[in-house]
């Protein structure tokens, strides 16, 4: 069915008006209001003189929709990143507390050792070196010397 001639836009303005507005659109001279009106007219007409404008406005419309979808996606990504950063900041003190529960540092003949597990092994080795066997032996010797 043939569209156009009885649309509100056709009643509002004549073809010359729309052709002038189309020209101004392609010169990027239209206001938002004019663009809106033009879009409405173009959607309703099948006049061949406006075919090119229909094609462009259809692309721009699609771009606008894609852009808004992309923008919405970007907003969602930004929200997720912000949430992740917030979580990381909130978790940092707990992580730090975990890692700071044990601290180890040693100097072995001037060489620094900072691996906490290695330092713990060194500490345990030092403790085991403090054998009580020779202490007991000394005490026994002293007892016998006292007896003599």
């Amino acid at each position: 069915m043939k569209k156009t001639d009885f649309t509100p836009y056709a009643i509002k303005h004549d073809k010359a008006f729309w052709l002038r507005l189309q020209e101004r659109y392609f010169e990027a001279a239209t206001t938002e209001e004019e663009e809106r009106e033009l879009r409405g007219f173009v959607a309703a007409t099948d006049d061949a003189d406006f075919r090119e404008l229909q094609a462009v406005m259809g692309y721009v419309g699609a771009m606008r929709r894609r852009t808004s979808v992309r923008r919405a996606r970007r907003m969602r990504v930004r929200a997720c990143v912000a949430a992740a950063i917030l979580l990381a900041v909130l978790a940092l003190p707990f992580a730090f507390r975990q890692s700071s529960q044990v601290y180890g540092e040693a100097y072995v003949r001037g060489e620094r050792v900072t691996d906490a597990r290695h330092v713990e092994r060194m500490a345990r080795h030092t403790i085991s070196d403090m054998s009580m066997d020779d202490v007991a032996e000394t005490q026994l010797l002293q007892i016998f010397e006292g007896i003599e």
């Binding site: 030092t126 202490v135 000394t138």
Partner: protein, 141 residues
């Protein structure tokens, strides 16, 4: 920071503070170990600091003299001497803020056999008893 004795700030200074303040830690004749946390060696020990000195008479004497100076102030002690020298001692010093302090010292120059030119000083803090510390040393292999 690691080599600041925690209780030095509380005014309860020990003579061993002077040898454990880090002045010997980079010396090639020493091994200096600091280990701190919440539950060390499966006991409520929060702080461990040991200093072992090899083959340096001046340093070994400095460590031995510091321990000998703290020994009279010990709340609980077990001391084995050879002549006037401390061969081995276990000292529990007066607690600070409910934390016990222990000094364990051994001077291998006076060992009955297998003498070595080596002294070892261990300082520990924690909410543990003397019995627990002694057991740790006895059972440690």
């Amino acid at each position: 920071m690691a080599f600041c004795m925690p209780f030095a700030l509380s005014g309860q200074k020990l003579h061993v503070d002077k040898v454990l303040d880090g002045r010997y830690r980079k010396h090639p004749q020493t091994t200096d170990v600091v280990y701190s946390g919440i539950h060390l060696f499966d006991l409520p020990i929060a702080y461990y600091h040991s200093l072992t000195v090899f083959d340096d008479a001046q340093m070994m004497d400095a460590v031995a003299d510091a321990v000998a100076s703290d020994e009279p102030q010990a709340a609980e002690k077990e001391v084995t001497r050879v002549g006037k020298h401390i061969f081995f001692c276990f000292l529990r010093m007066k607690p600070v803020d409910d934390e016990s302090r222990f000094i364990i010292f051994k001077d291998m120059r006076y060992a009955p056999s297998g003498k070595k030119r080596q002294v070892t000083l261990i300082y520990m803090e924690g909410e543990c008893s003397s019995a627990q510390i002694r057991k740790m040393f006895r059972t440690s292999k």
